[in-house]
């Protein structure tokens, strides 16, 4: 499961994960999705980009 918050700054990134995942799977550019969701800091962006949903 994705961590609830960014492990560096504490922003609640998990709340946007479902939308991020769906939009990227639908072919949108991850950069644009992140910009659109207002996830601007690179600590938070790597949380979504690098997450692997294992179970």
């Amino acid at each position: 499961m994705i961590p609830v918050r960014c492990i560096s700054c504490g922003k609640v990134i998990s709340a946007f994960f479902d939308e991020y995942k769906k939009r990227v799977e639908d072919g949108e550019n991850p950069k644009e999705v992140l910009d659109d969701l207002g996830i601007n800091k690179y600590c938070c962006r790597r949380m979504l980009i690098t997450h692997v949903e294992a179970w």
């Binding site: 499961m1 609830v4 918050r5 700054c9 922003k11 709340a15 479902d18």
Partner: protein
């Protein structure tokens, strides 16, 4: 300044502090603060992060948890869910008259779900209409066919001094207002323009000189200085001027956090003033 009423103040009374809002939305506020010193703005920053209280889940009674998540992990995830906070409605447990828990210091949130499904923060049922998760879309756990979860979580006020889940702010920081000067020895070689990672500098063709296009975006990294062979460009800071950014987790608005931080600082200084007056009388 109100706290100094009745005391003799040498020099200028108060300060000429000025605040300009640069950017603002729900959970973020960026402002430019002028005519204050580092110690003051840093005091405000520290109080914002660790002394302003918010609501967060503190204890969890798990009656049933069939999911693959350990109880401890689930309780930890619940603690990190930000809750909308009304600071007027609750008191800190340490300041409450009750023994253990009561409606003026704690709120109960119940979770009871059956699989197969993903359980979200929005599934928490709060006993208090104002204390609800800021986001409904935080995945808490996954349940497979036939699995169940049943728990009661108790949310309380607390401060970041005790645990980071009670910090109302995520990013809360200031930087010096940058000051870039380019002198006559500049040869318009464009190195600084090309090397700046934040596109602060631009070349103005009509005037044939380098101009500073976006000073507030400068991070004072000095890459431009290090790449200038003429030593023509210099990066410094404006004295007593800061860019202050405060981002909250949504439990409180940035304005509420700032206002409460100032109240806390005010209370502290009032105590010192009262102490000084007492001392003078004796």
């Amino acid at each position: 300044m109100m706290v100094l009423e009745g005391l003799e103040v040498k020099g200028e009374e108060g300060s000429n502090m000025e605040i300009d809002i640069k950017e603002k939305n729900d959970n973020e506020l960026t402002c430019i603060v002028e005519d204050v010193d580092v110690s003051f703005i840093n005091a405000i920053r520290r109080i914002c992060t660790v002394e302003v209280s918010t609501m967060a889940i503190d204890t969890v009674s798990i009656f049933k948890n069939d999911s693959t998540l350990f109880d401890e992990v689930l309780a930890h995830r619940l603690g990190l869910v930000p809750l909308k906070t009304d600071l007027e409605a609750f008191v800190l447990p340490s300041e409450c008259d009750c023994e253990d828990e009561c409606p003026s210091c704690s709120v109960s949130l119940v979770l009871k779900e059956k699989g197969p499904r993903v359980v979200y923060s929005g599934d928490l049922v709060s006993a208090h209409e104002a204390v609800t998760p800021v986001y409904d879309s935080i995945p808490l756990l996954k349940l497979k066919e036939g699995e169940e979860v049943e728990l009661e979580a108790i949310a309380k006020l607390g401060t970041g001094l005790e645990h980071a889940k009670w910090q109302p702010t995520t990013a809360c920081a200031y930087k010096y207002y940058p000051l870039i000067t380019i002198d006559d020895s500049c040869e318009e070689c464009m190195k600084c323009v090309n090397e700046c990672p934040r596109n602060v500098l631009e070349y103005d063709e009509s005037e044939n000189k380098i101009i500073i296009a976006d000073i507030e975006n400068c991070s004072a990294c000095k890459t431009c200085m290090n790449n200038c062979e003429q030593s023509a460009i210099n990066v410094d800071a404006v004295e007593n001027k800061f860019i202050f950014k405060i981002e909250t987790d949504g439990s409180l608005s940035p304005e509420e956090v700032l206002k409460n931080a100032c109240d806390i600082l005010n209370n502290k200084s009032e105590k010192i003033v009262a102490f000084c007056k007492e001392g003078a009388k004796k």
